[in-house]
Symmetry: C2
């Protein structure tokens, strides 16, 4: 870990003391979001020190130019940039004509930030002495409403401590924003209008090229020492910005406060010509409820989320804080209500990585949303890919595959590939497997087969056709090989026979054949409809079977392990333990060629396959592969430690499992990978949830049955979690002595615990 | 081949008839240059159809931004762009108020272009009828002076054929140019001043970032029907452009002509504050000589070049035209007089590929310049790399190598790497080998050992140290392996144990050890000086020997061939003959992943090694490898067919050798690779020369002796070439019956012809 300033607390993320070097990290960690929009924890008042300003709107992106000198055929035309949106949170604070700026104040004391995860708000307080000698106490609290998801609210107060003073609040909207990751000083927004009506202000803006229309809005009210105050503002306006200036004369000890409402209305929800009207409606509602009632609603909304999604840990406050931080941010990013949205790897906390949808969604996020939300949320995630099937078929055509082969994009916003490193875009094709696996996993978990005949089988056929063509016959090996791929371990590129890729390809072919047979026999009318489009012949199926049956897997007889890829053993096999600390993270210290020819594994690769297909392998096989690969794994992907934690739990290596758990759950809080200032790792947070529920709890679905093999780290007193299994809620509480199960539901449920059937009845505790 | 409009001619490139679709190809083919500057064959008058405007100055480049989202550690900060320079050739022609523009004329007839390679000039003539009905006959001739290499001259005349007319010539300078390959509408030039003095005009401009200062200049004179004419111009001037407008009234049958002088003075040759003064001097000289005398000088200068460099072919006019086209463009690009310049792959004919120096220089160009110029030219090319040794050491450090290991850049302008595709920049490390081989080859050919103790040994030590570290020990193979490389065949990336790379690495280590021993014993004071810096220990040398002795080479026992790399035989081995024609060139039709996993070879790779080290292998071995690899080779690199031609000659497969000869010599004339509009392939033109001299002529240096095994394609009557071997000029003339040798020199020379010693004396014909 590389930082430890976050104060351990069960329900809150807390920072005390002001340190300029921490500002950008804290801006990431204290980010807030409500599924529809989100923002980094930038200060409301001016801050002239190093900062990464970011406000983001779900689904709004920009197609950045990708054409460079070393262009390659098949590259997508654009890279989908997560766009920094016009900002509505700003409030300049001017005290006796001096601007309040924590970077230039004489002194700052009693600085505290809190992100209250239980109730869903962010607060900040400090005492500052300005250069002009005026000392003020400042308190702010803000949140993005879950109930009114176009609305955010800020309460910001200034108390003058040592003298009388004139205090000016200057709330503003700013459309003159750029992207942190912009390389060519490009502008991404057309500002269409900057208008006001009374004390409401609006900036209408449209993204260039993609043409997403938005209205950013604000309105403020004021109090002096808890009394409402009416002040006539001075208005200042430019082509990209509007601000209202409210001035008040304070006597020593007075508190002047502003409540600012703001947010975005967007054409995803409204007619693009009605965005100002919609914004007025939001502001009217906000004024009607008032800040206190809105905050109360916020607490209630979060309470409902926590009721289902919370995981408690007792006896280890850092572990507790870690898991809640993960669950909190997942819910801030994606609530599953809009089937056109997905789960971006940085959520609303940064700009790195374009696009919103990666294989992370299927491989990591789906289990979390399946177990902690209504089943429709998981189905929405699956349907998202069904709606992109045609584009996946087009994508495969660009790479020379036809006859309905589908290659889902590595990164997408709307189904089109929007990333272009050839070794990723063209070669990290294992993503197709995760999408098929998610269909299997959804059915396994929810028992809802309907998605497969209605939509999923078409997706599976497209994917199977891709694998069938992508595998080629090697005369030398008399086997089918898959050449030129990048596996989950992105520290290898253009390798041959990545075991994970070959394995999931074979599985996809076999599973699709199985599902075709099932739909054909059990859902004949669906099958007829699908067959009209797909025109699968017996010959084609025979060809799939040939490829699946004769798939090649690199294996070393002496070591008795599958090799991550052909030639892995030719590397200099120096373990991570022998790699000097000052060389890490290698992705920040080493050139790419050095990384590629090293044995270091960015993230679980062979072990990811053992995770997906654990029933296919014995515990002894798992142990051999874990012992071989773990020493070379640097976990420089956020998606890695969770899988290793689960596998260590399965091998009953609880100390190791716990270490990986801390690494996944506090990856950002403790900044293991030296990069938290860029934003949080949202999708891997679902992996943290898995490392408790599937790792420690040992939860699986086997033969339609919920099963557990509970374990507990030795330094924990107890932990508990809940899962929604086929609309019955199972509460699990594990301590060092026993496990207690409790059911919220209508009917009895027979589960398996450590290989024994246990029947639990609604609202009755079962102790194992 | 993809075009055949160039009219066969022994000494000229000729196009007849105007075809808008050919304009951009012809702009490349008819390019002119004089080593210091060059230009595409753009029309002088306005042309509104598709055109690629390009004027280039030797050594002037721009460091384009390379930072993109998928940045990787170790990437260079910039990509050296070949910069389009301010243009001086433009002459707007206005006839009765209508602009002459071949794209909009009513009719164009009798269009003819000629690039006279013997005399070094470009001419054009046509008859055009304008929309206003005036018919004119236009003739132009232009050249870039070899003697005054800052000067170009144009003679342009308009004869009105069918009526009286007012004709205006508007010669101009234009600094408002952009690059054809610019992606972000960047500007690369700061225009410092646009000035005039009398009828001379000057644009002073500086490249952004690199700060190269240039002055573009012009001055014109006029004639009416061969009588000098003084006309007062109207001047028009903007911040980037200046034009003079000269008007004359012509009676039917009158000819109005302009002689325009122009060019560049640059701070490579002058103080940057003296560029205008220098330009005035050039213009004064031009006026003093006059167009006719300058053209006469030009003919003489080219005559001297041809006297040494010409290759004659009788009985095959297309083959004759092809070889002269290659020799002509090589000399237009690089004359060897300035040791800071090098040979860019597109010369002055286009912008593709940044940087001026590739391994092409050492591997392909050096033999041509060694044999057709004074020995100092080849030595200049070697010294160029010596001067970049420190930067090559820094470059290796960026990739994690230290202790003096040197990795020369893949592409450079000043010694710094300036290209960034990781698979090239970091992995195409075989380039280091070609630089060492050139040292060996220079000594072998010239007999001048002095470069090695004075400079070359330090270069060799840096290179050997790199190979020693870059090879790693594979426990699995009990051999040294070189993982993660791109070989000469760039249609494979990140491969393990590229045979060519491993072979040249081993050779570099052994050759360097040999040279260290020789310098130590024969040049002790040089050795002491070098050893003070290099500090080579016996342990280090022992380590090199270990690596060289135990280098791994992939080999297939059944086929009895070295494999291009590990795993080559796992590919679907479908030969090029079975690849549908509509799929080619694959680099324009296929996505990169598809190319990578195919067996198709872009350019000679294993066979390139057999070319460099032919003494190490038997003819039978060569034949086996040729038969295996040639069927998979698509020759989509210009550097490929020449090597295959040489190897086919060696195997006495003259029909195949001839086919490859045509492909290399007429690659651009017949546009084999569908890309001539982007510019010519300059460096491979030296390969064309090799395919005659080393291929058909079978010239080699063996044991300090010049040897030949002459062969001749069956459709040729005869061919001849000259080589400067250690300051003696050997003339070789081969026909179907015999070979005739003639020596220009002071002393007898014993050469070997078909393994027999033959002594030739000055100016005496020897017939074999």
């Amino acid at each position: 870990m590389n930082q430890n300033y976050i104060i351990p607390n069960e329900w809150s993320i807390i920072e005390e003391g002001f340190d300029k070097d921490r500002v950008m990290s804290s801006e990431s960690l204290f980010s807030i979001g409500n599924g529809a929009m989100g923002q980094r924890a930038n200060f409301e008042e001016t801050y002239s020190g190093p900062t990464f300003q970011g406000s983001y709107i779900a689904g709004v992106y920009y197609p950045d130019k990708t054409r460079v000198g070393w262009w390659k055929n098949g590259y997508p035309e654009y890279f989908a940039k997560v766009l920094n949106a016009p900002s509505w949170i700003g409030i300049n604070v001017i005290i006796n004509n001096e601007i309040l700026d924590l970077n230039t104040c004489d002194t700052v004391s009693d600085f505290k930030r809190e992100l209250n995860m239980k109730e869903g708000w962010l607060s900040r307080s400090f005492v500052a002495t300005l250069k002009n000698g005026i000392q003020v106490e400042v308190k702010s609290i803000r949140f993005l409403s879950l109930d009114l998801d176009e609305l955010g609210a800020i309460n910001y107060s200034v108390k003058v401590l040592n003298d009388d003073a004139t205090v000016v609040f200057e709330p503003y909207l700013d459309g003159g924003i750029t992207n942190e990751d912009s390389n060519w000083d490009d502008k991404f927004w057309d500002i269409l209008s900057v208008t006001r009506e009374d004390e409401m202000a609006f900036i209408q803006a449209k993204t260039m090229k993609t043409g997403f229309s938005t209205c950013t809005f604000m309105q403020s009210t004021f109090k002096m020492n808890d009394e409402d105050l009416q002040i006539a503002p001075n208005v200042s306006q430019s082509s990209t910005k509007i601000s209202f200036s409210y001035s008040a004369n304070l006597s020593q000890g007075d508190t002047f406060s502003i409540t600012k409402y703001g947010g975005y209305t967007v054409d995803r929800n409204h007619d693009k010509y009605e965005l100002v009207t919609a914004a007025k409606n939001v502001l009217r509602k906000a004024q009607d409820y008032g800040f206190t009632a809105l905050l109360e609603q916020q607490k209630n909304a979060w309470s409902k989320i926590w009721d289902m999604a919370d995981i408690t840990i007792s006896g280890d406050i850092e572990a507790q804080q870690g898991i809640r931080f993960n669950i909190f941010h997942l819910n801030q990013t994606y609530l599953g209500t809009d089937p056109t949205l997905n789960i971006g790897p940085k959520g609303f906390t940064g700009e790195k990585y374009g696009g919103s949808t990666y294989w992370d969604t299927e491989a990591y996020c789906l289990p979390f949303y399946m177990a902690t939300k209504n089943q429709s949320v998981a189905r929405n995630l699956l349907e998202y890919r069904y709606h992109h099937l045609d584009k996946a078929i087009e994508n495969a055509e660009k790479l020379g595959f036809n006859s309905g082969a589908a290659l889902y994009p590595m990164v997408t916003m709307n189904g089109e590939e929007c990333h272009n490193e050839w070794e990723i875009t063209f070669q990290e094709i294992h993503r197709n497997g995760a999408i098929a696996f998610a269909i299997f996993n959804y059915y396994r978990y929810t028992g809802d087969f309907s998605y497969i005949p209605e939509m999923g089988l078409e997706v599976l056929i497209g994917i199977a056709r891709f694998w069938n063509k992508r595998a080629t016959y090697s005369t030398a090996k008399d086997k089918y090989v898959i050449l030129g791929v990048t596996g989950p371990n992105e520290y290898e590129n253009n390798i041959n026979n990545n075991w994970y890729t070959n394995y999931i390809a074979k599985w996809c072919l076999e599973y699709t054949m199985e599902m075709i047979a099932k739909v054909k026999s059990d859902y004949p009318s669906d099958f007829t409809r699908i067959q009209e489009k797909a025109k699968i012949s017996d010959n084609e199926l025979a060809d799939w079977k040939n490829v699946a049956d004769a798939m090649y897997f690199p294996y070393h007889e002496g070591l008795n392990i599958y090799l991550q890829q052909d030639g892995f053993l030719d590397k200099e096999l120096i373990t991570v333990a022998d790699l000097p600390e000052d060389q890490r993270p290698i992705n920040q210290k080493w050139s790419w060629d050095r990384i590629l020819r090293s044995p270091y594994i960015k993230q679980a690769d062979t072990l990811q396959g053992f995770y997906f297909f654990e029933d296919h392998f014995s515990t002894e096989e798992l142990e051999r592969h874990f012992d071989f690969y773990e020493p070379f794994t640097v976990h420089e992907s956020s998606l890695s430690p969770c899988v290793h934690s689960i596998q260590a739990s399965k091998l009953n290596r609880m100390e190791q499992a716990y270490t990986f758990y801390l690494r996944t759950s506090r990856l950002d809080l403790d900044d293991y990978n030296h990069e938290v200032h860029e934003g949080l790792h949202i999708t891997s947070m679902a992996g943290t949830w898995m490392s408790i529920v599937e790792g420690f709890g040992g939860m699986r679905i086997k033969n339609d049955q919920l099963t557990f093999e509970p374990r507990i780290p030795k330094n924990w007193d107890a932990y508990s979690f809940k899962v929604n299994f086929r609309n019955q809620i199972v509460n699990v509480k594990v301590n060092q002595q026993k496990t207690v199960f409790e059911l919220e539901g209508d009917a009895d449920l027979t589960i398996k615990v450590n290989d024994k059937d246990i029947t639990i009845s609604p609202d009755e505790l079962v102790v194992v």
